[in-house]
Amino acid sequence: MQASRVILLKFLIIFPDNLSVDDLTREFLIESQEGLDRMERCLTELEDRPDDRELIADIFRSVHTIKGTTGFLGFVRLEKLAHAGENLLGLLRDGRLRATQEIISGLLALLDGLRSILDSIESDGNEGGGGDDAMIERLVVLQQTEPSNTSVQASPPQKRKKSTRKSRAKQPPAQAAETTAALAVLQSLETTIDLPANGAQDSASGGTAARSATADSTLRVDIDLLNRMMNLVGELVLTRNQILQATATDAGFALLSRRLDMVTADLRESVMKARMQPVSHVFAKFPRMVRDLSQMLNKRVVLEMEGQETELDKGLLEAIKDPLTHSVRNAIDHGIEMPEVREQSGKSPEGTLRLRAYQEGSHVLIEVSDDGGGMPVERIRDKAIERKLISREKAAQLSERELMQLIFLPGFSTAEAITNVSGRGVGMDVVRTNVEKIGGKVEIESRPGKGTTLRLRIPLTLAIIPALIVRCKSNSSSGCLQQSFALPQGALHELVHLSADEASTAIEWIENAALYRLRGKLLPLVFLDSLLGHGEGTPAHAGRSGETYIAVLNADGRHYGLVVDGLADPEEIVVKPLSSVLKQIALFSGATVLGNGEMALILDPGAIAARAGIRLAEETEDVEERRELTTGTSDEYLLIEVGVEQAALPLSDVLRIERLPRSKMERLRGRPVLRFEGTLLPVEDSAGLANGDVDGEMTVVVCRDGERHVGIAVTQVLDVAAGSTLAEAGTEAFAAGVTLLKERVTGVVNLARVPALPPMELLPSQFPEQEFAEAWQ
C-alpha cells in the first residue's frame, strides 16, 4: 500500500492542473466497472457459446484494459489479479484452451475478486487487505487445463460457490458505486468530456461519435446536476401555471403565456428523458444471478428477457433494483420446482424464468414470471394463521386472490423461512413497500401447476405528476375555509358529481359506513373532511348540504370513493417532499405549490384507504359484492335475481355476498353445500346455478336464519332498496312474504325453507392439511 501511495504522489506532481489523480481514479473506476459489467454479460453468454471468439476477445479486453490502466495509478493488487486473469484469457483467445464450465466459473470468481477491489478503492481509495493468492493460484491451475478435457484438479464447484457468495456479500450495492462514481466525474465535467468534443476537432469527430453509439455519443451527466435541472424545470412549471392563471384574462399575454406553456412542456419532457435509462441496466445482472442460484439449488432455469430497451427514470430504476432482485430470487427458490418434480408433472425439467418490461400509458410494467408450481394458497393461509397475521375465521372468508395478498403482510416471512437464497431478511412486504414508496404497485397472479407472475407497476417518473386539485371545506371557528389538495391522477378512475339534492339521498348509510351505488355497484365512501377532522363525526354527513363530488379511486387494490366539496382544474404538480411532522400524519405523499400560489398537500390514496379501513377488492370489477352488509334497517331489502325471477332478502339477515369460483361448491347427497367459516353452509339453488361451467364464478348470498347460516345462490345482486311489507300475501312456495320494492311487488325469500344438512357424521372429512415445507416470502 505504501508503495502505491508513493507512486500516486509522484503522479500528482506531473499531472497537468486540470486533471488530478482523483479525477483519473474516478475515470478509471467507471471504465473498469463498465468493463466488468460487460465481462459478466459475456461470461454468461459464453456458457452457451463456449467457442465464440468474439465473446472471448471481449472478455479479454475488459480484463486487459483494467490491467493496462491500473499500473498508472499504482493499484498493485488489482494489477496482479488482472494479470493472472489476462494470462488465462490469452490462452482462451488464442484457442489454446477451451472455455469449460470450470474455466467460466473461475473467470466469474475473478470478476467478483476484481469488483471487490474496485469497490474498496472507491470507498476509501485503497485496494483493501486480503490476499488473492488462492484466486491467482486457481487461475494458474486453470491454465493447465487440457483443451476440451475437464480437469478435476480445480477447486470443486461447491467451494467456488461459497467463495463467490462471500465476496458478493461483501460488496456494497453496485448501484451506489455507479452513482458516486458518475457523480464524481461530473464534478470535473469540463475536463472529462471526451476528447472529440474539444473544439477544433468537432467536425473531424462528428461522424466518429455517431458511429460508436455506445462508447462516445453519450455523455455522463451527474445525477445531482440532473436533479437540480429537474427542480428548476419544476419551478418553471409552477411559474408557468401561475402565469397561465394570471394572464387568463389578458388577450395579449395569453398568446405569450401559451408559448411559455409549450416551451415549458417541451423542456420538461426533455429533462425527464435525460433521466431515463433502459431497464437493461438492472436486467443485466440477472443472467449471472440466475445461473448462480439455479446451480446452488440444483435447479435448471432458463432466463428469458424481453423489453430491455424500455426506459425508466434513473432514480426509479435504482429503487426497483432490490425489489426486482428479490422477486427473481423468489421465483427461482420457491417458484420453479426441482427438475425431477417438473418431469413428474409432465413439464420440461428446465424451468423458464421470464423477465419482461414494457410501457403501458404512464407506467412501466416489469413482470417476473416463472412456469413453476404456482403459489401454495392453502399453505399461505395456514402460515398466516400460524403467524397470527389473520384469524382463522377471517382467513376462511378470503378468496384465493386475497389469500395470495397475504404474502405481502409484514411478518409473513420469518427467520425459519429464510433460506440461503431468498432469505436476506427481506420479505415480500419490503418489496411491496419499496415499490409503493415510488408510487408503484405490485400485483401477483398465480395458477397452481402453471406458475406465478409478479408484476411491478412503476410510474415513468415521480418528480412531476398530473393531479386533480380538490377542495375541502373546513368549518373552523374563523368561518368556512376552502382548502385545496392534490389528488394524483394515477389512482383516479372517475368523478361523480352529486347535486345538493342528490347528495342527501344518493349516499346510503349502513351503520357508520357510507356507500354510494355506482352503476349498480356499491362503493364505500370516505369523507375527506371527516378524515381531516373537519367534519363532526360521520353519520352527521347523512344530512350533507351543498354539492358533492366523489372521486372514485383505486389504490393498492382498494376501490373507494373520496367525497370532496369541490373540484378545481387538473394541474401538473411538482412533488416536494414533506417535513417529517406532516409525514407522521400518513395521509399525504408530498406537498406542492399550485398555479394560484397556494400550497397544497398531495393526498395519498393508498394511505387514506388504509386509514379508513377499506378492504382489498377481490376483483377490481366485483368490489361491491364483497361489501359486508351488516345489520341494516329491517325495512331494507337486498334485491336479487335468481334465474329469471327477482326476489328480495331482508338486509338485516344478509351477512355477506360471496363471489366464488363454481368449483368451490360441493355436493352433499345431491344438495349443494359450501364450506364457510369452518362450517358447512346449505345452499338454496333453485335455479341450478351451481351446475354451470365449472371454471366460472357464481354469487352466493350468505344469510342468517335464526341460529344457522344459509346460502342463496343468485344470478346477480341487483340493488338494495327500502320496501314496505305487504300483509298476508305469502302464497308462493319460494317467498316468505311479499314486499313492494321500487314500486314492484317482489317476493321475499323464506330462509327457513332452505333444507337443513344431513346428520353430522355423514359430513365429508376436511381435506388433509398439506405439508408446509417452504413458504412464500
Binding site: 506531473i14 486533471l19 490491467k67 498508472f72 494470462n87 472529440p196 474539444n198 466518429t208 462516445d216
Partner: protein
C-alpha cells in the same frame, strides 16, 4: 502539431491527451483503428499517432498496416502503446511500420523521451 490517439480506454485517451496538450499538441481521440482511419480520412494526416494494441473492430497492428499502405500518411509518426502482454507482438508492429513503442504504465517523462526519440518534439 496534431496528434491522433487511438485507444478504446477513455482513461488512457484522457491521460495521454492531458500530457500532450501540456506540450501544446492538439489531440483527437478515437476508440479503435477503424475510427482512427476514418478520422484521418476526414481531417487529413496527423503528425503523430499513439495507438493501442488491443481494440475491438480494428486493433493496433491492422491500423498500422493500413496507415503504412497509404503513402499519403508517410510523414505520420506512430507510437504503439502496449502492455507487456502485447509485447510479444511488438516486433510485428515495428515491422509493419510503427516508429516506436511505449510501455504501459508510463509517466510524462517516459512519453516525452519516446516522442523525442522519434523527433516528434524537440527538447
Amino acid at each position: 502539431m496534431r496528434a491522433l490517439i487511438v485507444d478504446d480506454s477513455r482513461f488512457i485517451r484522457d491521460y495521454l491527451a492531458s500530457l500532450l496538450e501540456e506540450q501544446g499538441i492538439e489531440c483527437t481521440g478515437t476508440i479503435n483503428g477503424q475510427e482512427g482511419l476514418d478520422c484521418m480520412r476526414r481531417s487529413g494526416p496527423y503528425d503523430l499517432a499513439l495507438v493501442d494494441w488491443n481494440m475491438p473492430i480494428m486493433g493496433g497492428l491492422d491500423f498500422v498496416r493500413a496507415v503504412r499502405a497509404d503513402h499519403g500518411y508517410d510523414t505520420m509518426k506512430i507510437v504503439m502503446v502496449t502492455t507487456e502482454a502485447d509485447n510479444q507482438f511488438l516486433e510485428a508492429a515495428l515491422d509493419a511500420g510503427a516508429n516506436e513503442y511505449l510501455m504501459k504504465p508510463f509517466d510524462e517523462m517516459g512519453l516525452m523521451d519516446k516522442l523525442e526519440m522519434i523527433g516528434a518534439i524537440g527538447d
